[in-house]
């Protein structure tokens, strides 16, 4: 018969292993976000790394955002034309496209593209640094790795996603103009006048607020996954994958909440 000391103590749970783990994870995320705000507003600030991350996240995403924005503009215009033509209202295309692009498509498409490109990049990079002890090495060399790696990346995504959203919106409208110009021979001046006739500051502001929330979400979710990666290369892959999935999921949830809120005050 085995002695008590030979067996591992039985694991005890408050509710069940999975439910306990879920609430522990929520608490860990809360601590992570609280630490972010604590570290973001205390000196020293890593300006050089922040600018480097803005360059990596913003400038390096430009080709992808340009291409997707342009395609979204063309495709949405082509798809909307038949419905409007039925009512003889194809001249309303520029204002319809602008409302759709500014209110929903630009922030959403930009955030989803960035979640895929930037989120996976951050998740994999920090995850790889974690499992190869580079984050520990930073800590023992008296550098705060959270401030250097996490704060700079989260702030860079929060700052650059709105910039990319504005850019993506403009490119999508250019795509739309190209298609409308080809089909309806509308001049650029007429397109712009019609496009901005129905758009309000609330639309642009709510779009920017959405983009800021999306940017923060992508940065925080990706950094959290990467910073807590474990179990070697498998953990790095999981961190990158979860960073993208969680970011995209949260973006849709936030989109739904912000739209409800904006419609209530409109």
């Amino acid at each position: 018969m085995k002695k008590d000391s030979d067996t591992l103590p039985e694991e005890r749970h408050l509710i069940s292993r999975k439910i306990d783990a879920f609430f522990i994870e929520i608490y860990e995320i809360f601590k992570f976000v609280r630490r972010f705000f604590g570290e973001a507003f205390s000196s020293p600030f890593e300006w050089k790394e922040f600018i480097n991350q803005c360059y990596q996240i913003g400038y390096r995403s430009l080709p992808l955002i340009s291409m997707t924005g342009f395609i979204v503009g063309i495709v949405f215009t082509k798809q909307s034309r038949p419905s409007l033509s039925t009512f003889g209202a194809s001249s309303w295309l520029p204002s319809l496209i602008t409302i759709a692009v500014i209110r929903a498509l630009a922030p959403l498409v930009t955030a989803l593209i960035a979640a895929g490109k930037v989120g996976s990049n951050i998740g994999a990079e920090l995850g790889s640094m974690k499992v190869t002890e580079q984050i520990d090495a930073m800590e023992v060399s008296a550098t705060n790795p959270f401030k250097f790696l996490v704060v700079t990346r989260v702030l860079a995504t929060t700052f650059m996603i709105p910039v990319l959203t504005l850019y993506s919106g403009l490119v999508a409208m250019m795509g739309s103009f190209v298609n409308i110009h080809q089909n309806e021979q509308t001049s650029f001046a007429a397109f712009i006048k019609n496009a901005f006739s129905t758009i309000s500051f609330l639309d642009i502001n709510s779009s920017l607020v959405k983009a800021i929330c999306f940017g923060f979400t992508i940065g925080a979710a990706s950094c959290y996954q990467g910073y807590h990666a474990e179990n070697g290369t498998q953990g790095v892959g999981k961190a990158a994958n979860t960073a993208v999935v969680v970011s995209m999921f949260l973006i849709f949830i936030e989109e739904m909440i912000i739209v409800q809120f904006v419609n209530a005050i409109r």
Binding site: M129, T132, Q134, D136, A137, M138, V140, S141, A142, T143
Partner: protein, 258 residues
């Protein structure tokens, strides 16, 4: 050691306990490291050797016990004090832990530019060149870590800690995964660091040749406690089967196959 009471203690550990969930790794560990000495810590894989030096450097918190490093109790001091203490501790990781995205120069400049902000670019460059000469790799200054061999990575990892002129060096498996010739070079480097930088070190290793050549004292960590501590000859004159197995395996004695 007979004169240990007269020597200045740089690391003093008493009754250190550490567990991970239900797994107890360290059970009441007591050990002292004296100024200027190299202490080799031997023991089985997963026996808590790396945990010990991670606790000393403040990377892990002890469950209980006293860990005193250069007069500060690492788990009781503030974050700012811990950062100041860490500037006096060099940690050489088993995997070298060089920053992949940075060149050798940037790796070496990283701790210096962050902790000694008063230094000019020229002074940082001079310190980098000095430390690269000390580890014998001045030609690698503009290379990426991925372009270096295992031994070179280890040396650059040690150089990155030396650039801060530490008082204590913690080596985690310095010769693991290296060929015998490179192992000898690393052993010589550890001795050179002890003499030129006047460091006190803990060397975590399985390699008895490394322990014999680089350490003043050896401590054997088994089942969460130090079995014995003393000079290499004192420790390996023991009749304890577990210590004898260590010696026999490393020095190619006949042993039973399992």
């Amino acid at each position: 050691m007979s004169n240990s009471k007269d020597r200045e203690t740089v690391i003093s550990i008493r009754g250190l306990n550490k567990s991970f969930g239900s797994l107890t790794v360290l059970k009441g560990v007591d050990v002292d490291v004296f100024k200027g000495e190299n202490l080799a810590v031997l023991g089985k894989s997963g026996g808590g050797k790396s945990v010990l030096i991670k606790i000393i450097s403040g990377l892990l918190k002890p469950d209980s016990g006293i860990v005193n490093v250069l007069g500060s109790q690492v788990d009781k001091i503030s974050n700012r004090e811990l950062q100041e203490l860490r500037q006096k501790i060099g940690f050489s990781f088993q995997s070298s832990a060089l920053y992949d995205s940075m060149t050798v120069r940037e790796n070496l400049a990283f701790p210096l530019s962050r902790n000694k902000r008063e230094l000019s670019k020229a002074e940082i460059n001079k310190a980098i060149e000095e430390v690269l000469n000390d580890v014998g790799l001045p030609q690698t200054i503009n290379q990426m870590p991925s372009e270096l061999s295992g031994g070179q990575r280890k040396r650059i990892g040690i150089a990155r800690t030396l650039i801060m002129k530490p008082e204590i060096m913690l080596y985690d498996e310095p010769t693991a995964g290296l060929d015998p010739i490179t192992c000898i070079e690393i052993n010589n480097l550890i001795l050179q660091v002890q003499q030129e930088y006047n460091t006190s070190s803990i060397i975590i290793t399985h390699d008895l040749t490394c322990a014999k050549n680089t350490s003043n004292r050896v401590a054997v960590l088994m089942e969460g406690q130090f079995l014995t501590t003393g000079t290499f000859e004192e420790v390996f004159s023991s009749k304890d089967e577990r210590i004898k197995t260590f010696y026999d395996y490393n020095f190619i004695q006949e042993h039973e196959t399992i």
